[in-house]
């Protein structure tokens, strides 16, 4: 048996999916979180049930990637029943999608989710009209409390008949549906879709276009507009029957402060700067403690053992890698992920998008781009995947450039660990300043030179919610464990390889070759070039490698402040890490990826070189 979950964005599909399957799909409070099909299994009365979590969509007939994906899935009829999840606090808009799904003629169950929030708003729900009009089973749930979730699977198993609903369209549309049906032997749904220009039978589309033009000239509305209006009006009627709203006292509306330029803008900037400051201050404090503990309890006792030189070199490399890895992971990466998860779950990101819309237009994108740009502070990889919420290729190209330039948590480690600890906090923030100015300039230039169409933003402001601490921690932990399991082995192997190269003197040869260049260009010793190269694997490895190569964690003793500062700036700008390059290849193609890589290398070396000339 296979069932599919379908619904508007942010209605709790992924939450229900997680509760039914026990899997950890990411839940966020903004449109576009789930962009791929997620599959999971659950057992009911010793029978295996496969669940598919579809991305949240507003319609089956828009042109976006998610909408295409969901529509193709429904067209394949590859599911035994669909479970339509509906947010009762926004019932009317949700019913619009429900009616479209009902036209596909698959057995279905309706889940009225967020019954608890509706009760808080004083909305009383009567599920009978939906049950009678559509002829399907209706369940009221509260996914955040896990209420009635266990009734979904039995209801889906019992659902065998498709909905019997027929949306009453305008009589011209109805006439067109009848004649198209007679001429081409297609069903109602296919005729309606053909009138809107969707389908794959060219003759049917041709005929439908002629009729649609006729309808348009009579109504002065396009056929799509008429059909959408009919569906919305029908949804409105059902919603009226279903809801009995008792007027309660209106709660205070946080949007009255969040979406005004003042104080909304200062709040937005405050959140971003506060996030960086908090990670910086708390992160470096925690890191010092972890590094100190490691020094006293692991490295010093190990060196005191007096092992043979090769074994000692190997052991020391492993311990240094562990020290650097743990010192980075817990304080910086975890903290960033916690803050970003809170921002995501609260629904604040859509407010930020609205406020930043104008500024983002200057950079050639629309307000939605703020979401990936903010996510990029945690890690560039999910942020690059997030640029899908931009419509045009032009916007995606610009966003992919800018996102890869945002200092992610790994680069924060470099800034905090090298500049923050050895040069000063002010200097560390000036690195951010430099990077942000470069991002701005890049955006301004790209928006002028990138060809392609501009699209504006049409974005739903999702309801603000208090993030559930348990869910936030779970999400942050899931992301951190990815870091631990993927990055730590890399760190360990890299560290051991470096230790061995060093031991056999190969390193010295390489450094001897590059040293004249790095000294002349950036004023940095040869081993810093090795660190930069290792930084391509994982950004934080640049820091850790530098420490290993310098032979001490106290970098201030071997390099001058200026050298450390330049090293940090170059590393932060230099080449996106391997993981980022991989997703870039998938999302924007090899040419743009190459352009981004070349651009960032050139920019890093140029800025580093300029600073060396000016400051020394």
């Amino acid at each position: 048996m296979r069932f599919a979950l379908i619904g508007n964005p942010s209605v709790g599909k992924s939450l229900i999916f997680n509760q039914l399957t026990g899997l950890g799909v990411e839940v966020s409070n903004y449109p576009g979180t789930t962009v791929e099909l997620q599959r999971g299994n659950t057992c009911f009365q010793r029978e295996m049930v496969e669940l598919v979590d579809l991305p949240g969509v507003y319609s089956l007939e828009g042109g976006s990637d998610e909408e295409d994906l969901v529509r193709r899935f429904l067209e394949q009829q590859d599911t035994d029943a669909v479970i339509v999840v509906v947010n009762v606090t926004r019932l009317e808009r949700n019913l619009y999608l429900l009616l479209q799904v009902a036209e596909y003629g698959l057995p279905m169950v309706v889940v009225l989710n967020m019954a608890d929030e509706a009760a808080k708003l004083g909305i009383e729900i009567d599920p009978a009209p939906i049950r009678d009009l559509l002829g399907v089973d209706v369940i009221q749930t509260a996914a955040s409390q896990g209420k009635n979730i266990d009734r979904i699977i039995p209801a889906a198993l019992a659902a065998t008949r498709p909905s019997k609903v027929e949306i009453p369209y305008d009589h011209h549309v109805e006439a067109a549906v009848r004649s198209l049906g007679k001429m081409f032997l297609v069903d109602r749904k296919e005729s309606v879709r053909a009138l809107q220009g969707f389908g794959d039978n060219p003759e049917l589309l041709e005929a439908a276009r002629t009729i649609a033009d006729e309808i348009e000239s009579r109504h002065r509305m396009t056929a799509s507009q008429i059909i959408a209006a009919n569906r919305h009006n029908f949804a409105h009627r059902i919603a009226d029957l279903t809801l009995k709203e008792e007027l309660l006292l209106r709660q205070t509306d946080p949007d009255s402060i969040l979406t005004r330029l003042f104080p909304g803008m200062p709040i937005l900037l405050g959140i971003l700067v506060g996030m960086l400051l908090l990670v910086f201050v708390v992160g470096s404090f925690l890191e010092e403690i972890i590094v100190e503990i490691f020094n006293v309890f692991a490295i010093q006792p190990f060196l005191a053992l007096g092992l043979p030189p090769l074994a000692e070199e190997l052991g020391r490399s492993i311990l240094l890698a562990l020290q650097a890895g743990l010192g980075i992971a817990f304080p910086y990466v975890l903290l960033f992920y916690i803050i970003i998860s809170v921002l995501e779950d609260s629904g604040y990101m859509t407010r930020a998008a609205f406020l930043a819309d104008n500024a983002m237009h200057r950079l050639g994108m629309h307000g939605g781009a703020v979401i990936p740009l903010t996510l990029a502070f945690g890690c560039n990889v999910p942020a690059i995947m997030g640029i899908r919420l931009l419509h045009s290729r032009r916007e995606r190209i610009i966003a992919s450039f800018l996102v890869t330039m945002v200092p992610c948590s790994a680069r924060t480690v470099i800034i905090a660990g090298i500049v923050g600890s050895f040069v000063g906090l002010g200097a560390a923030f000036s690195v951010y300043g430099i990077v942000f100015v470069l991002i701005l300039i890049t955006g301004l230039v790209l928006s002028r030179v990138t060809p392609g169409e501009r699209f504006g933003m049409i974005m739903e402001m999702v309801p603000l919610r208090r993030p559930d601490p348990k869910l936030v921690m779970k999400k942050a932990w899931a992301r951190l464990s990815e870091f631990l399991f993927i990055a730590m082995p890399l760190l360990l192997v890299g560290s051991v390889v470096l230790g061995l190269l060093e031991f056999f003197g190969i390193m010295a040869i390489f450094e001897g070759i590059v040293e004249p260049y790095t000294l002349a260009l950036l004023g940095l010793p040869g081993y810093s070039a090795t660190a930069l190269v290792f930084g391509i694997l994982r950004k934080e490895m640049a820091f850790e490698t530098l420490a290993i190569l310098a032979g001490t964690a106290d970098l201030g003793a071997v390099l001058s402040s200026l050298q450390l500062y330049i090293f940090a700036v170059v590393t932060v700008l230099f080449v996106p890490c391997l993981a980022t390059i991989t997703v870039l290849l998938r999302e924007v193609g090899s040419r743009i990826t190459l352009a981004i890589t070349v651009y960032t290398v050139a920019l890093g070396l140029l800025i580093g070189g300029l600073m060396y000339r000016i400051l020394s």
């Binding site: 042109g63 209006a229 919305h232 949007d255 609205f354 933003m457 739903e460």
Partner: protein
């Protein structure tokens, strides 16, 4: 027939001088057309030679009678074409203006007359053609925060399908929840708040609600 560059120059002079009475400086003309100053000077000189322009001062010219009649014909063609492109076909205003600039030189007088009378004859719903003749309908951007208005038409309806799916379609009543000084708006429709960029809000024509 004049080459299209000449027509563009005469049209620009007409636009700068209003109805042709005053004079336009070389600098203004170069700025309006986005051309080099030197090239502008040469073209103006040959236009003066042919009797379309006359020199008012050393650095400024005005239209002669002959020039004025050519300029007005071209300007009218531009207006009619732009109106047709934006209001009937739903082309974006900037793009329509550019396109009208190219089309105006080749289109015959008769076609323009027919197009103009065709547009007058078409009985448009409130809001669609209104923009061309009078200013009694407005876009979402002309509304104030807190206004409740009814959507009349959406220009370029095929471009923004998501508006339809979120419930913003002709006939629907929406409330303007927030309007920033930079023209981004939030409208409430069907109990949900939708944030909309200025250029999209501009394409939504509304009527005030009774």
């Amino acid at each position: 027939m004049l080459p299209s560059t000449f027509e563009d120059y005469l049209e620009a002079v007409l636009a700068i001088t209003g109805n042709g009475g005053q004079s336009a400086t070389l600098q203004e003309i170069a700025a309006a057309l986005g051309t080099e100053r030197e090239a502008t000077g040469t073209t103006i000189a040959s236009l003066v030679e042919e009797g379309y322009l006359e020199r008012a001062t050393d650095d400024a010219v005005r239209l002669t009678e002959k020039g004025l009649s050519v300029a007005s014909v071209v300007a009218r063609k531009h207006r009619v074409l732009q109106c047709f492109l934006t209001e009937m076909l739903g082309v974006d205003a900037d793009a329509a203006s550019k396109e009208a600039c190219t089309l105006e030189h080749d289109i015959s007088d008769e076609t323009i007359d027919r197009l103009s009378s065709y547009m007058d004859g078409a009985q448009p719903p409130a809001g669609r053609m209104g923009h061309c003749r009078s200013r009694d309908t407005c876009t979402l951007l002309d509304c104030k925060e807190g206004d409740t208005v009814k959507v009349a038409t959406i220009r370029g309806p095929r471009r923004h399908r998501r508006l339809l799916d979120l419930g913003i379609f002709p006939g629907e009543v929406v409330q303007i929840r927030r309007k920033l000084p930079n023209q981004s708006v939030v409208v409430r429709v069907k109990g949900c708040d939708i944030a909309i960029s200025p250029e999209i809000a501009r394409s939504i024509l509304v009527e005030s609600c009774p």
